[in-house]
Amino acid sequence: MLSKKQARALFLGGTVVTFLIFIGLTVFSLSKAQDQTNREDITESVVRGKLIWEKNNCMGCHSIFGEGAYYAPELTKVVERRGEPLIKAILMSESPWNPKGRKMVAYGMTEEEANDVIAFFKWAGNVDLNGFERIVSPLAKERLSNQN
């Protein structure tokens, strides 16, 4: 039967070993050779777009890469699905966008701000998400609707 000392050794040893493996995998998967995010495409405009995304807590309703609040649509590949002009119009609108009975805050962004947010969406749309991008891509939607 396991003694208290052995149980403590299991806890401490197991924790240290798994944590070291975790750090190793982190370093490996974030290394340049393993990059799936096209780091070189993160322009100043993309960074400004990400800051606007955070400043307005867009993730508090929408989701991106499947992370968010599921109250408003997933925005990975949104530019391909909805097109740039519509997204721009929504972001710049002074009155609340109200699609099918659910309200969005009217942000009334400037054209430059809206362009930055779209640049962020475009960058996000090109990230290799291990297959999740196919679930939310316009092609998947079309394929599925053709089946119906």
């Binding site: 396991l2 998967s29 993160i42 400043k55 499947g66 659910r102 297959g131 939607k141 599925l144």
Partner: protein
Amino acid sequence: MKYKTQKIAYYFWALSILLLVLQITYGFIMGFARIGMEGLHEIIPFNTARATHTNLLVVWLLSGFMGAAYYIIPEEAQRDLVKPKLAFLQLISLALVGVTAIVGYHLNWWEGRKFLEIPRPLDWLVVVNVLLFLGLILVTLFTGKRKTTTALVLSMGLFFAALLYLPGMIQFDSQTMDSFFRWWVVHLWVEGVWELIMGGILSFLLIKLTGVDREVIEKWLYVIVGLTFLSGILGTGHHYYYIGVNKIWLIIGGIFSMLEPLAFMAMALFAVNMYRKGEKNHPNKIALYWTLGAAIISFIGAGLLGMAHTLPQVNLYTHGTLVTAMHGHLAFWGAYGMIVLAIMSYALPNLTGRKRYDTSGSRLAYWLSNIGMLGMTLAFGVAGVAQVYLERRYGMDFMDVQNEIKVHFAVLIILATLFATGITFYVIEFFKYGLPNDEALDMNLD
């Protein structure tokens, strides 16, 4: 109570209870918005309600854990808390940071990073606050007459929770990197170090309530927290499946997160077995209910419901849907909400000298809140599964699906009302009979 400074716990718990009430209020705002009643949209849009709801959860649980530490550590270390006035200062600063953050969310002052919306300047105040808390707890522990495993595991959990807050404060240009390190905080908290805190509190409660030998209970505590870290650290990988990092996480995350329920199952078996083995017929039955309930519900909510959608093949479709909300609600309630309410239920009669161990109000609080929360989980689950099929499998438009599943949110609101009624009974009991009394020191209730 055995030490006068243990009563500081009550004031942290009072803050906890107030924040819990506020959290439920914002939950209702979100529930009504989901069935189309968005009357408060202009002042409290959904993203404000959501950030407030989740951050209040984090702060009421942290305040509950801190209260638990201020109650448990003096008793385990067999000495009064050092510098009790500083503990009150820490409480006031915690409340001020919390209130400032919540007001800020209503004025668009936040960071828009799920669960970590607190702006960076306030993050630093959180760090100072937690350092003060840890200083008080650790100095008390290490200058005390004994250092028990229960106290060490609890303190270790609190220390690593503070340390792991730091990766969430780093600014990244890439959404992928941001998300990657945000999970170092969120996942390694809730599926890692917070389980140490839960295990420490559970162990203390089982020692007190069942009378089983401390050595036996603490041995199993090591096994449980060992299993938690063995599976939980690499289980972080299930958050990395689809955020833009290497496919290796599909394998690592898949395997280790399937093992994560083991720790919760061990915790449930441990609690039930200790209860059965115990010879001590402790009169505080309601504390025992909450303690065993926490161990069992956390196994269902965090363990089984998490496992249900953690395989990459399943998660590909459920990722970013209401299925996550189903798992999240029962997991947080069982693992952390219930253990905080358990330690409060155990400690309040000891702090007040009032032997209100098993009143009809406290029984109603237990059953209504649990039945309500199980029902809410079911409603979220049905809505989530319907969303997965309609939107992800059959390609329906997001908003068309949301309108289809509205009915489940009407059901959710009814069940949330049941839950809130249960919590109301708890709140009444807490504020009406919970204020500590120095005369309780002489009674030495245990």
